[in-house]
Symmetry: C2
Subunit: 240 residues, 2 copies
DNA sequence: AAGTGGTCTAGACCACTAA
DNA sequence: TAGTGGTCTAGACCACTTC
């Protein structure tokens, strides 16, 4: 039984989908100023109020940034969007911390079964892998492995350097915006490799975060597994 | 410097605040059908569109539930509101799980320094404490200690039984609605007590969740510390 | 002064529920 | 059939930014 049939999509939703399509297709790029409401309304043949409702929805999804008197901009990976939407580790005393990254290994190989499942890849598909350590206040706190489909990131292996914020890289080099992500968190004992990278003893409890990041069209584009030391840091979140 | 000055509050925001006030004061109670938009608009002397915007905001905050053709209801702690807004532990295979609770101890005593800080209580204030184990699929998975100010929950100690969902109890018996909560999560080693309650060995990595729940007026009303076994379960969340 | 988004209004019509 | 929320429109005015 297929319950995916929308049956009826309100106009503002159709407008929203059409505008998201412009982001997916790359017609609108991060940081860009988009046309004013009244222009979009005329273009699409709907009222300004309907366009507004669509833009408000996209703003709520962190896809746009609106500034009174200036205009509406496509969100970039720096608009507070990524760095605190997708990075939630905080010092216990509340001091603001900036993560730095050190890439340890980069490889390209056939995807494992787990990677294929997470990324919805066919058998024999290949992935790029990045292993890195992230430091907070100079101290290694996160060890993570990132896997992305080779097919969606052609030439990633050839890049000489990787930036701290890979989601900004995905957007700028590959025109790919991460819209949302699903996380699974557990407490596990640090294995040998993790312990060595984090400078703790094997068996130390670490927070394991498995994240699948989804593109704007809903397809998985990145799978990462992180292990975090939480003796002096914690994962902060607000439930509402 | 006090930056709390609102300077200008739009009308729909004032309407929203006035209606939230009805929830705080208990004029509107969980499950109740509230007056239709046009009536509220006439009552408050604003347009129906402005009332709608206020009601939509409250719906987004999970305070109201709107049903086309029927009306707008005050959310209850069962409206999917609590059980999956505030309970995020899931089986790894994705099977739906229902938590059951077994209360182990209930005490009333002077608040510790940590409890006073979390609950913004004066020196010498007293708290009720509840210690319980929660089971998923029959297996003990969460050990937690809950602390609430005695002053806001008079007679809590005298209640013969405590329900599985304490937020529903807070609402029904004490007219207190939890609007949001802040969480801090860590990975720690299970201590003796936790290990005994969860049926694991001391030192096992467990997910520690420290939660402060806030009332609708923003004041802290509950502080809890939970320790979760995550060998067959995980804490699930969506980032967007 | 001109242009943008933000707020507020008034009213029409649609979709759903209940009696 | 009557009453509810849901959608859509058109237009007025306000607040902010830029020139």
């Amino acid at each position: 039984m297929d319950d995916a049939a929308p049956a009826f999509r309100p106009l503002y939703r159709q407008v929203r989908d059409a505008l998201v399509r412009r982001l997916i297709d790359g017609a609108w790029t991060p940081g860009m100023l988009i046309p004013p409401e009244h222009r979009l309304a005329a273009e699409l043949g709907v009222s300004q109020g309907t366009v507004r409702k669509a833009l408000d929805a996209m703003t709520a999804e962190n896809l746009l940034v609106r500034r009174q008197g200036r205009g509406t901009y496509v969100a970039t990976a720096e608009d507070g969007r990524i760095l605190f939407q997708f990075f939630c580790l905080t010092a216990d005393d509340g001091a603001p911390v900036f993560p730095e990254s050190e890439v340890l290994r980069r490889t390209t190989a056939r995807a494992t079964a787990r990677e294929r499942t997470a990324l919805a890849l066919p058998t024999a598909a290949r992935v790029h892998r990045i292993e890195r350590v992230r430091r907070l206040a100079g101290r290694p706190v996160i060890s993570e492995r990132i896997a992305v489909p080779e097919a969606r990131f052609p030439g990633l292996a050839a890049l000489p350097e990787l930036p701290n914020n890979v989601y900004a890289l995905y957007a700028e080099r590959f025109g790919l915006t991460v819209g949302r992500a699903a996380e699974r968190r557990k407490a596990v004992a640090a294995d040998e490799t993790t312990a060595a990278r984090l400078g703790c003893t094997p068996g130390t409890p670490v927070l394991e975060i498995e994240r699948t990041a989804l593109s704007l069209d809903g397809s998985p584009v990145e799978w990462r597994l992180s292990h975090c030391l939480t003796d002096a840091f914690h994962y902060a979140a607000e439930l509402r």
